[in-house]
Symmetry: C2
Subunit: 164 residues, 2 copies
DNA sequence: CGTATACTTGACAAAAAAGTCATATTAACA
DNA sequence: TGTTAATATGACTTTTTTGTCAAGTATACG
């Protein structure tokens, strides 16, 4: 069970966009500097998200990337599905390289059921988490209000779980 | 988010041992045949589990592999921790190759908290699932009873989730 | 226009994971 | 005690994933 590099770094880059004031573009170079990643790599990750409509890009001098939807309306599940290789429930076992007979046709294959159960379980966690919540509740609220008050910069809130 | 090959195939091999009648050794060759995997690969996977005490090996002519504990007393979580590279909560971000400043010291790193929350969430699912339950409830019961009745062969039961 | 800045693209290089092989060791059994 | 069947091990090859590069295209601005 593993979080892939593409998911980890892709999410980091996306959060940089999520943190930017509404409507403001952020350049690849800027994100690279903030996250300590090479611009070429950041570019690659952003491109994946751009192609799937998660972010929007603007070329040319003053160009950059920007989120297509506000962070409160994007779930982690969506991001991970775009960046990663999370198997959809229906794909479980279809790319198994072993004995398909033993896997698909016999009823004593205990694997499919756990993997699909686990996958659903994880998806439900991810789908219930929005990017805004990752930036802290304060930020999420600030975002909602920003359209009215003009206060744009959320600093930090309570994390989901005090990890170390 | 990905289930690694080692986890997938390692678990399959382990389940073959779990299905074997109590006290009976199963050879690598036999497992390979049943799962459609090469003996060399099965060997490698079993070795990992052997070194960490999940299974026991017996060399020589009538040798083979056998579980160290009954399937009802082994959790999926334990198996996955042995086979895979699930990050422990404390490791989250320590192997991040980017800007550690941005990750560790700033409070606006929303990553650590989600990853550790997600990791805990997954672990709790895995820790609550025993190998016996993967073989179907009937089997789990049969196992418990086998010491008294001598009925050793559980066939199949209801999967956790009708995946496909 | 021309130039500087930024995204776009596909090919490539490096690293990690997956899977194989040859060889050594152990134990049963005739 | 020699043969056979099995595990043990580490080096090796292949495949996949990560990450880089160089050349191209679009846009702002002087």
């Amino acid at each position: 069970m593993k979080i892939t590099a593409q998911e980890e770094y892709g999410l980091r880059c996306l959060l940089q966009l999520a943190r930017a004031p509404q409507g403001e573009l952020v350049s690849v170079k800027e994100i690279g500097t903030r996250e300590g990643l090479s611009p070429a790599y950041v570019e690659k990750l952003l491109r994946v998200m751009s192609r799937s409509g998660l972010v929007h890009s603007v070329r040319g001098v003053k160009g950059g990337y920007i989120m297509n939807r506000p962070p409160a309306q994007v779930s982690l599940g969506e991001v991970i599905r775009v960046l990663g290789t999370m198997p959809s429930t229906s794909q479980i076992c279809t790319d198994f390289t072993g004995n398909q007979q033993a896997c698909v046709h016999f009823s004593d294959c205990g694997i499919r059921s756990v993997w699909s159960g686990l996958t659903n379980y994880i998806q439900s966690f991810l789908d219930q988490t929005t990017l805004a919540s990752l930036l802290g509740q304060e930020y999420a609220v600030a975002e909602q209000l920003s359209k009215r008050t003009g206060n744009k910069n959320g600093t930090n809130g309570t994390p989901l779980n005090g990890g170390g």
